[in-house]
Amino acid sequence: MSAILETRGLTRTFGAVVAAMNLNVRIDQGEIVGVIGSNGAGKTTFINMVTGYLPPSSGEILFDGHSVLGRQPRAITRLGMVRSFQVAQLFPKLTVLENALVSLVAAEGPRPSFLCPLDTPQRRAKADAIFAEFGVSRYRDVLVSAVPQGARKLVDIAMALVSQPRMLLLDEPTSGVSIEEKFALMDTVMAVVRRHGVTILFVEHDMEIVARYVTRLMAFYSGEIIADGPPKSVLGDARVQELVIGHHLDINALGVAA
């Protein structure tokens, strides 16, 4: 297995706050990596750095063996690493369909045409297929600002996947989503991701979800990774239970993935 994403000594400070401290992460093709950690542990900062939104204070980031340090998010997206956001980042005053059409045209190339219309039957068909896959077809012609939270998060993830990336980083995909909807949302996402063979890393607070889906778990605490490995061992780790989860966890009750 070759590493798709690798960081070496990745560090980022905000004034006196150390949001990332010497992170050495190596993620292989096809892994499903979960990230846990309390608020402010540095999870979002990690995603922001590897996708080019925040420059690290020091360290190196390799995607597919090539350094992406100093590249803009748009360049990294074009290399095949995309993300979703803790708060869905969509175009609120456009309809869900229009949101998808914009993503589709962006996936076609960096210079959208100023003559050919955006709205073509081909793109519409592609968008419809995506909506069907994500189960959001009924919101197709609704303004995003009027779409419920759960569906909005799905659209956010769908838009990231339109460009057929090789790696997907999800920042708290289920935050703001009701308990009942969480598993459905994750089932949908994981099904799509598996079908397209995308490597995935996602941040999650719900240990049940983590236990159900991931093949590997990383625990962030105060800018550092304090545990990394199979979910069973990470969740069973005493330091993780004390510092991240905050109480003793019965891992057997969670039904950790094999």
Partner: protein
Amino acid sequence: MSFPKHLASSTGSAVAIAALVFAAGTWVLPPWLAFLLTLAFAKGLVVLGVVIQMRAGLVSFGQALFYCIGGYIVGLASQSLGISDAFALLALATGAGILMALACGWLLTRYREIFFAMLTLALSMILYGALVKSSALGSTDGFNVAAPSFLGWTPQGDAQKQALYLLSVAVAAAVAIGIHRFMVSSLGRVIEAVRENELRVEYLGLSPRAVLFSNYVVAAGISALGGGLTALASGHIDPDMAVWTTSGEFVFIAILGGTGHVFAPFIGAIVFSVIRTFAIQEAPHFWQMTLGVVLLALILFLPKGLWSLIARDKPAEVAT
């Protein structure tokens, strides 16, 4: 702010019909009205430049920069280079506006909101200051622009006025169709996306700045074209074309018409010109005050402009 689908498909023919109706007016309209419409179409072009930037969420308080450049280029080319063909002059004006935009765009597209508004304003004021001080260009008085020829034909008297009127109708119609296509094109729709959320556009793999830059250049081109047309039609140019209150007038018309459709700026410009003609006759000291009051009323009660009175609503806002 995207426009209604049922209009999108029929816009081309609607523009053509409107253009034919206006063209037929050449032989019917009283001369003062034809002249008013000529200038209103020219102004509508400049306002269209403001409107397409509003679609990107940017308000230019300095569109008069390009309006003035277009006007002066036409004046200079006609006076110093001896070019008299209206089409060549307008092409030069448009080209000059685009060149200027290419030069300024790299700096301006770094800014948003009030910064963009005020920096565009400052740029136009620099031009204003330069023109006022250059005696070679007539300082504050400006200079007169000779009547143009049309592909070798040089009409006289009334025919000259009619030709200019027809030219303005034709140019406005052509630009309206072109800009309409631009507005529904991939890039044109991405512009709305940039207004809504630049971060997402960036993460989709596009450069918001590049998108805004293209839009800025297009806006500059049509505004300069409008300035050139104004110079031809009025036969005179002066530095007041660049002063920021002129830009303010364009913003006013843009808000009056709304950003819903390519027609809106032209409707706004016509309504504006008609009202101004009467207001200046009846109560010259209340003109700006009237503008101010109407502007406040529009913002408070009709935020989508006159066009929203005509257009139907957007798609359903609430899920069913």
